[in-house]
Amino acid sequence: MEGSGVGGSESGSMSTVSRDDNMVVSSEDSSCPDESELELGLGLSLGGKSGGFKMHQLSKGGQFARILTAKDFPSVISAASPSSSSSSSSSSLSRANVTAGTKRTADSVAAANGSSQVVGWPPIRAYRMNSMVNQEKNLAAEGFNSTMVNHKSETSMVEKTTAGIGKYQNNGNTKLRKSLFVKANMDGIPIGRKVDLNAHESYEKLAKTLEDMFLKTTSSVNPTGSMTLELGAMKKITRPSKLLDGSSDFVLTYEDREGDWMLVGDVPWEMFLSSVKRLRIMRTSEATGLAPQLQERNQRQKSYVPTHETLPSLKTFAETKSAIRDSMNSWQMGMMVEMSKPLCNSECYVRP
């Protein structure tokens, strides 16, 4: 339940506020983009959810804009009713947003792509959220995804019942998607983030999100609803572009269930999801020894290792990596280097 910063408005419209408030006129606060860039749209990051909601939308008139109410979004209200599908509600929301003239366009709504979550909302403890996800996984693993039948027919207990949350979710047409939040940290940035892996269907999308999170400036949209960096922290470290001048490369790594640090991308996406505990964007200089330890693991646990011969639909490691590299236009994915000594936890990452 640790986290960083807060999703929502970032550097804001100092000038607007200070016009109203004589006590706090100051130019030093306005190290922020133009107020029209104000991050408003908690509404938008909600994707299809937010109905008529639009908070703290400061207009250039210098006063707190009126809160747009349900009346402003008649189409969205109908979309907000339970009977509508999410696709229609998100499209009507984007229509409404355009109507309202916000800078945050439908792009971010589209980018939200089903991952429509505001950070920390609804207010449920992280533990409980994660346990719902894990229950779902366990149910799937145990084969409890259909009605459960008692084999012992002589008992009087035979009844077809449904099994837990997994079945509850499978109401025929509803799309199943649980959240799977993992921590993500980048070397050199003190504040970590959390990212919902289930909101991304592929390594490419994940890489794009991480890029948005850690490398874009605060005016960027964060459609997965994860937290934004504070300006202060960004300023303290050198700007990403300097770091990534080519003088230092980064690799995306993850810690798996067994505590090993692996390079992201060397296993199929689904397998990755089931074993990832957290992510780290590591400096290449530290990423020594992150050889895919699959072979070692195989000997340990005889897990299934797909190769491109056995599963032609899966990308090879190289293909995956190049796809990721292509998507990360502002930083490079470092090459993995073989090393004689395996990387162990105490060397690569000190937990805060």
Partner: protein
């Protein structure tokens, strides 16, 4: 606070002295005061006069610190020399929802160091939202030979290795209560660290750990701890194993089962049923992961005296719940998932007339396509059947003003009303109006209201109502609500007993923030994130109120955390 107490006591010291000749000896006064348990009563008592202040501080054995930064451990130790039990709360509540950065603080270690020196006979430590490392747990385990009870809720920074240290070293341990925490669950071997000679455990809760434990060791542990009254297992314990445990521990008062789903033979089922029903003292039941209609009947006989049933990890359907509740006539507290739907809640209303607390959690909070879950109808149904209801936490996707008005009319005794309409800023779905009147009805009708969480589309009118009517309100949570500074000003200007105010994503700015200057000293904490407060506003606040800890992050502060009260200086890291 201390200085004002002493000042006051100086004034009354004369009258105390004159009465002294015929007053109690100190020892008697201390003895009498030692019977006071409530920390609020004790605070009042300490203000009477200097004698009473001293008697109180010498007789106090338990200290509750609601905000670890409000006071330093040295000052606590100086004032209360005989503490045996400490409860400490740290991070703002919104840290549970990932709104507080890591490394924020609230580290227990400095406290432990002082306690080791000043309270070597410390017995109990209960922590909520504190950061605690394995090293600290080990330090705790070896520094306090009399240590008895450890309870951790919403804490983080530690792993099961820390638990192993506790199990290994705390020879007199009676309570190990590991609730929902950010624990690094490395494995279950910690349980095996309890020595074979160890028999004193009364409370063991590891329900929220995921790793497998050694069942043999657990069985032996439970078998030799004859005073065990609370046992909450984790998922890894099967039904069959549960039965074996219960056979040896029929005295259990609180049981958290493991996985409640397994293929059993008839005989195994009957044995389970019998073992459960033999627990005549059982008043609390939880766990029940993956419980389905198949095995719930095994519980029926055990539920006769049940007062607290926690089904929040078992996604029951309405019919299953209804059948189960028919056997729970004494139920006072019920936690469920919204998979039970309105029909399930109707069954609650029909079967549980003594119900005082209801919590309905969403089984799938993020899926908008879900047309199930609970609605206003379920809540209304419960209110008709359960007039004693005073605590509710309700997650839903639709609500109306009229429904809430009906609910509070039926249940005017609410002390805790936490309504979460999951879609932020959603209006009354029938009238499309804001939900102002709903919360207006709540504060007008429920005069005993202490805690309120609001949601839905809300204008400043909601806050006008709150400020005007909620005279006993102590905790208020606000998200995605309000229209202007006026809203927050109303709350700060009214609500005489307000202690905790947490606000996120609302259009409240500096004017609102600064309108509460006088208020903040009597509050425990204020949190504002993603509002319109500026850094300068925070600076001004800090300047005007030097005794407050004001902390702000971000250009336009993403979050402002105001921890009131004097004397604490936070170590800020990485700011």
């Amino acid at each position: 606070m201390e200085s004002s107490e002493l000042k006051r006591s100086k004034d009354s010291v004369n009258s105390c002295e004159s009465a002294r000749r015929s007053s109690f000896p100190d020892e008697v006064l201390e003895r009498v005061l030692s019977l006071l348990k409530s920390h609020r009563d004790r605070s009042s008592v300490s203000l009477v006069c200097k004698d009473w202040y001293n008697a109180e501080r010498w007789s106090r054995t338990h200290v509750f610190i609601g905000n670890c930064y409000s006071v330093s451990p040295e000052i606590v130790a100086r004032r209360f020399p005989r503490i045996r039990s400490v409860t400490l709360k740290g991070k703002p509540r919104f840290s549970d929802f990932n709104l507080v950065p890591e490394n924020w603080g609230a580290d227990i270690h400095a406290w432990l160091v002082v306690f080791a020196a000043k309270y070597p006979f410390l017995e109990e430590l209960r922590l909520k939202r504190m950061a605690i490392s394995d090293e600290s747990l080990e330090f705790l385990a070896v520094s306090f030979p009399n240590f008895k009870a450890l309870s951790l809720l919403s804490c983080d920074g530690f792993s099961t290795n820390g638990l192993a240290a506790i199990a290994t070293h705390c020879k007199n341990l009676t309570e190990l209560d590991i609730q929902e925490n950010g624990i690094d669950d490395i494995g279950g071997s910690w349980l095996s660290c309890f020595p074979e000679s160890f028999t004193t455990l009364e409370v063991l809760n590891f329900a929220n750990l995921t790793s497998d434990i050694n069942f043999d060791m657990l069985e032996k542990l439970v078998g030799r701890c004859k005073s065990m009254r609370v046992l909450k297992l984790n998922r890894s314990v099967s039904l069959e194993q549960l039965q074996r445990l219960l056979v040896n521990a029929p005295q259990l008062a609180e049981l958290g089962t493991g996985l409640f789903s397994q293929e059993l033979t008839i005989r195994e089922y009957e044995e389970l049923e019998s073992a459960l029903s033999n627990c005549k003292n059982m008043h609390t039941l939880s766990g029940l992961w993956d419980a389905t209609g198949m095995y719930l009947p095994a519980l029926y006989l055990a539920c006769t005296h049940l007062t607290f049933l926690n089904l929040s990890y078992a996604a029951l359907q309405s019919v299953e719940l209804a059948k189960l509740l028919a056997h729970c006539p004494q139920l006072k507290r019920l936690w469920v998932l919204d998979s039970v739907e309105d029909k399930g809640l109707e069954a609650v209303g029909l079967n549980c007339p003594l119900l005082e607390e209801l919590r309905v959690f969403p089984a799938d909070p993020f899926d908008n396509e879900i047309v199930h879950g609970v609605t206003e109808a379920g809540f209304v149904a419960v209110s008709f059947g359960c007039p004693r209801l005073h605590y509710v936490l309700y997650f839903c996707r639709q609500m109306t003003n009229a429904a809430v008005a009906t609910i509070v009319q039926n249940c005017p005794d609410f002390t805790h009303f936490r309504l979460c309409i999951m879609n932020p800023g959603q209006p009354d779905y029938l009238t499309n109006e804001p939900m102002d009147e709903a919360f207006g009805a709540v504060v007008k009708t429920c005069t005993k209201l202490q805690r309120l969480s609001v949601s839905g589309l809300l204008t400043d009118l909601t806050f006008e109502y709150i400020g005007r009517y909620a005279k006993n309100l102590e905790t208020l949570s606000v998200a995605f609500a309000g229209r202007s500074d006026w809203g927050m000003q109303c709350v700060l200007g009214g609500c005489p007993k307000l202690r905790k105010l947490e606000i996120r994503d609302c259009p409240f700015g500096n004017a609102a923030l600064l309108s509460g200057l006088e208020k903040y000293e009597s509050m425990r904490s204020l949190w504002m994130s993603a509002c319109n407060v500026t850094m300068n506003g925070c600076r001004l606040l800090a300047r005007e109120m030097p005794r407050l800890n004001v902390e702000a992050r971000g250009g336009m502060p993403h979050h402002l955390s105001l921890l009131s009260e004097m004397l604490g200086t936070r170590q800020t890291e990485n700011y």
